[in-house]
Symmetry: C2
Subunit: 289 residues, 2 copies
């Protein structure tokens, strides 16, 4: 899915450009760019575009905007997760986190503004959206808010008796579901048949994250490691052990691949997703696995 990267970076740049008004507060502008550029793997928006392509990509502008919405929500969730009242993380992607660089108020506000712009970019007057906008807004809102989106997922960490399945589905998988559903929807296809693909990839990604947190280093990841254990958070590694977690991850990728709806482009998408998802297992563990 790497070929989509230039397309995604251009689309994100276009979505942030309106936020750069001359009379906007300068530090917020800088904080917003710091939160979004340079990005990570951009896995979720690439997944969104890969699904849109598999569905024929009849409206590339709308697919771009759906992919950007997903990525802006992801960036917003990282900025808020890093805040002192959550992970209190000074680092993200090898650089200071937004609140470490700009202060806690701008961390809160940059996250808020990115959530808003995820919706704003969908409604951009640049392209016609026909009757797909309500469904797209619904897909993005479900992934971001309550009761089953990112905010709900993070909120499980404040519960005395968290529902672990609901926690992982909401905190991580919801946005993968949104990525595949939004890709299909932007291309004029029904989004429901894509849900299982998003759920399996989201769960597999979460296990990869747990593995990296357990065995990788801050120098490699660009953010603190060992946080799950330090914060006593549920983790696939704690539950299944490293080898068991890797087996579970691989089974999920197979299930994800098998779930792809029967389209002419399905084999291409399947190959792309398998190649990409194989990288969920940290390099350090490839020999052990």
């Amino acid at each position: 899915m790497v070929p989509f990267l230039p397309r995604i970076e251009r689309a994100i740049e276009a979505a942030l450009a309106p936020l750069d008004a001359a009379d906007a507060p300068p530090l917020l502008r800088k904080a917003l760019r710091h939160a979004v550029f340079p990005g990570g793997a951009r896995f979720r928006p690439r997944l969104c575009l890969a699904v849109a392509m598999a569905c024929g990509d009849p409206d590339p502008d709308l697919a771009d905007r759906a992919a950007v919405a997903v990525e802006l929500l992801h960036c917003a969730s990282l900025v808020h997760d890093d805040l002192p009242c959550f992970d209190d993380s000074p680092l993200r992607r090898g650089r200071p986190s937004v609140h470490a660089a700009f202060g806690e108020p701008l961390g809160v506000l940059a996250g808020d503004a990115l959530i808003v712009q995820a919706f704003g970019v969908l409604a951009s007057p640049a392209g016609g959206v026909g009757d797909r906008l309500p469904a797209l807004i619904g897909i993005i809102a479900r992934a971001a808010g309550a009761p089953h989106g990112i905010a709900a997922g993070q909120a499980w960490e404040s519960e005395p008796h968290p529902n672990l399945s609901a926690y992982h589905k909401a905190k991580t998988a919801a946005l993968f579901v949104a990525a595949v559903e939004a890709g299909a929807c932007a291309a004029g296809h029904a989004h429901q048949p894509w849900r299982l693909l998003g759920e399996c990839l989201g769960e597999a990604y979460q296990i990869g994250d747990d593995l990296r947190d357990a065995v990788s280093s801050e120098a490699v990841l660009g953010k603190p490691v060992g946080r799950d254990q330090a914060l006593m958070r549920p983790s696939a590694v704690a539950t299944h052990g490293v080898a068991g977690a890797i087996r579970h991850l691989r089974a999920l990728i197979e299930r994800a691949s098998a779930s792809i709806p029967d389209l002419p482009a399905a084999p291409t998408l399947r190959a792309l997703i398998e190649a990409e998802a194989s990288r969920f297992v940290p390099k350090e563990l490839l020999q052990a696995a």
Copy 2:
């Protein structure tokens, strides 16, 4: 505009109901309700419905959803403004603020989820929205985010040299503009002719807020007073004095009233708005004024 209140409370209740899923994190559910019920004056959604009514209210369901979106954004902004890194306010509407009652993480997340649901409610599949949804989403996004919405307004407080005019327009007036524009848009009217009404009412409301902060008491307001002076924030009272601020407020209400587009229902709307806006001046000052 008081007669709209039952209609608004019902619409807000309907918009929050989907967030009450059985497998949602219970404390976030409680925090969301705490943030929204019981409400304050619900001035912004009443304004939204009053404008929709003046435009004939051909689609009451969509007008309700526009009014709810505006109110949820308002509630979200209060929850985030009260956080320790901003106003650090333990009280809101005479009760503990959300973070005081539920902890800082749920304060951040409740605000996030309310922002998301402001958009989610607009895209509810309950009603047809025709071609008005992109404009409505744009109106709400402009009021909430960067460069000129609530998040930008709050961000000016982190600037060493704030642009005071941009600060007030973004922090307060932007949501009044959204309320009137969304009311007109939901009723199928062009929203641009309503902008000045929102700007004038927003500025007048801000002056009323500054007056209350300067002369009222915590017992009357249900939140701490004297915060502008304590936090050295710009205030109309500091700039113009109490009597000057009241004069300026009244001139703005006249200008707001005169700006109402020429519709058959304009006189009714004008009377409603003048009656409501006259209450912006704190009771304690009515004799002095």
